[in-house]
């Protein structure tokens, strides 16, 4: 519900940035507000693996001095942000949610961490995640709990990031997405979360699941915040050979909110098949809203998820098994049981299946490119279901369950396979107050189109103003 008792940590990133630039608030005040929220809610939600309060306070003091001295760096200067615990950070342990890396302290920053530091962001902590971003919680850490209803799953694998952002434990977070790991927890936790184009954001310094399918991206409470955070981390990085030379627009200033000439593609296989009725109803209402705003819809011949998800999983299981092979050979008992099973399945996957999947991937890219020739965006649910009970979720299951994993990533996985940018944002709530995510997909490197359409929709609705139950119950 919307709540009048909004605190500094509940405001959107860009609003706080404006206050910071004008000197109306200081980075120290902003950081203390976030740290107080963490102190209040973290014991109940388990969103972080490592907190960095003292380092955050030190950075906040530096930012305060710089801004006061006229050295304002931009919209992230003095803004508390978190990163998923698979991003290397000098001096801070980086576990990737695993026992294998429980004590690893990197000597180098991931590129996204370097870019956040350069932008003046305050790093408040490393967020909880599924083990090695591979679909299951390691029992040493336990799940991050959904702040709208702690009996429901927060999905994954960037679950801690989504939870932290949803409740004001930071104004944004950086997650990673290989089958849906930014967008699914984003949808379950009612926030805005983007998987950019493959190559848009450097992967350097992030523990991989699958080199050819991993995407790093921003998770925030509003679309404008997402634009600001993406602008800070995007761009060519010579340490990641797959990162693109494509110029980085000023995503924030390019938000125009005009969808009057927007052409949006839809396909029954991504709207109606095996989708919860409650999800369908809210997606239909979103389509109506875009239509009211002047967008037009047409059915496009998208290749179905059933032709993409198995190929994606063949690639992920093979690449993940190769990366983790040394630990699988020497200390397999330190993996959680389902992650160990998935890695063993990867070892048993024939090379011919991997190559076939990469050929089908090329074909899928060609087909989806052709299908989008006459439209600007695609629209569909982020997840076929609203959410799931925590105890019945894949993340807490004791088995690898390949079919359930495939079902979970049915609408998100295809865009990891093709590398196209995709974003989730809230499109409503179902009783008893669970958010539902709407997914928009754009052509490669057209994140600005994605953000502009999402911004127009967000401004027409009020979903992003609602606060999770975990926050409204704070008095």
């Amino acid at each position: 519900m919307t709540d009048s008792r909004v605190e500094l940590c509940d405001l959107p990133l860009v609003e706080v940035a404006s206050l910071l630039e004008k000197g109306a608030v200081s980075p120290v005040d902003v950081t203390e507000s976030v740290l107080q929220r963490i102190e209040a809610l973290e014991p109940n939600l388990n969103a972080f693996i490592t907190l960095l309060p003292e380092e955050a306070r030190r950075q906040a003091s530096i930012a305060e001095r710089e801004i006061r001295d006229g050295q304002y760096r931009g919209p992230l200067h003095g803004i508390p942000i978190s990163v998923k615990d698979l991003f290397s950070m000098i001096g801070a342990r980086t576990t990737a949610g695993s026992r294998i890396l429980a004590d690893w302290i990197p000597s180098e920053n991931a590129t996204v961490v370097d870019r956040l530091v350069e932008a003046g962001a305050i790093l408040v902590g490393k967020t909880n995640m599924l083990e090695f971003a591979y679909a299951s919680v390691h029992p040493d850490y336990g799940p991050a709990l959904n702040p709208w209803d702690t009996t429901r799953s927060s999905s994954g694998s960037s679950s801690g990031s989504a939870v932290a952002v949803a409740v004001g434990m930071g104004y944004g977070s950086i997650g990673s997405d290989t089958g849906g790991s930014i967008r699914l927890p984003g949808a379950y936790c009612g926030i805005v979360a983007m998987k950019p184009t493959y190559g848009r954001v450097s992967r350097h310094g992030a523990i991989p699941v699958s080199w050819s399918c991993d995407h790093m991206g921003p998770m925030t409470r509003t679309v404008a915040d997402c634009a600001a955070l993406l602008g800070a981390i995007a761009g060519r990085d010579q340490r990641d050979s797959t990162s693109s030379h494509a110029p980085v627009p000023d995503y924030l200033s390019e938000l125009d909110g005009d969808v009057s000439n927007l052409r949006i593609g839809i396909a029954d296989t991504y709207l109606r098949e095996n989708v919860d009725r409650e999800v369908q109803l809210l997606i239909d209402k979103a389509i109506e809203q875009f239509t009211v705003m002047g967008a037009t819809f047409e059915t496009v011949p998208l290749p179905p998820p059933s032709e993409a998800v198995p190929a994606l999983l063949a690639i992920i299981t093979s690449e993940a098994a190769e990366y983790h092979l040394p630990a699988l050979q020497t200390r397999p008992e330190d993996f959680s049981e389902p992650v160990r099973e998935r890695l063993e399945l990867g070892v048993l996957t024939p090379a011919t299946s991997y190559i076939r999947a990469q050929r089908l991937r090329r074909q899928f890219i060609d087909r989806i490119t052709a299908a989008m020739a006459g439209v600007d965006l695609l629209l569909m649910p982020t997840s076929p279901v609203v959410n799931t009970p925590l105890e019945d979720d894949l993340a807490t299951s004791e088995e690898a369950d390949p079919e359930l994993l495939a079902a979970m990533i049915n609408f998100t996985g295809p865009f990891d396979l093709c590398g196209f940018p995709a974003l989730t944002l809230p499109c409503g709530f179902v009783e008893p107050g669970w958010p539902v995510g709407l997914q928009l997909v754009a052509r490669p490197f057209e994140e600005h189109a994605l953000l502009s359409a999402a911004w127009a929709y967000e401004r027409a609705m009020d979903w992003h103003r609602r606060l999770p139950k975990a926050v409204t119950e704070l008095v």
Binding site: S155, S212, Q238, S241, T242, H245, E273, N274, V275, P305, S306, E307, V309, P310, A311, L313, A314, T317, L325, L328, Q329, P332, E341, E344, L345, V347, L348, T349, P350, S353, R356, A357, Q358, R359, L360, R361, R362, Q363, I365, D366, S383, P384, V385, T388, P389, D392, D393, L394, S397, E399, A400, D401, P402, E403, L404, A406, A407, M408, N410, F411
Partner: protein, 81 residues
């Protein structure tokens, strides 16, 4: 995602006939030592995984080449890393 949901049409194969011994042998090629009990316990998961692999075997990639690409730096005048 709940256990009851199955949005991707499962390509349920008949039992693939892969024995625990075969699983152990293939794993050993990669340097993974599996007990017979573990290989046996892995079989149901492998059956489901093989179902997904069969789904991609059933699709025709036509003349496409694999998507994996080697990127080499080009030190041309417009591209300085």
């Amino acid at each position: 995602m709940a256990r009851s949901t199955n949005a991707v049409p499962a390509n349920h194969p008949p039992d693939s006939g892969i024995s625990a011994e075969a699983i152990r042998s293939i794993a050993a090629i990669a340097g993974i030592s599996l007990s017979n009990e573990r290989a046996e316990a892995l079989r149901p998961q492998l059956e489901a995984h093989v179902g997904l692999l069969r789904a991609i075997s059933a699709l025709d990639p036509k003349m496409t080449e694999p998507a994996g690409e080697l990127h080499l730096p080009w030190k041309g005048p417009e591209n300085h890393d």
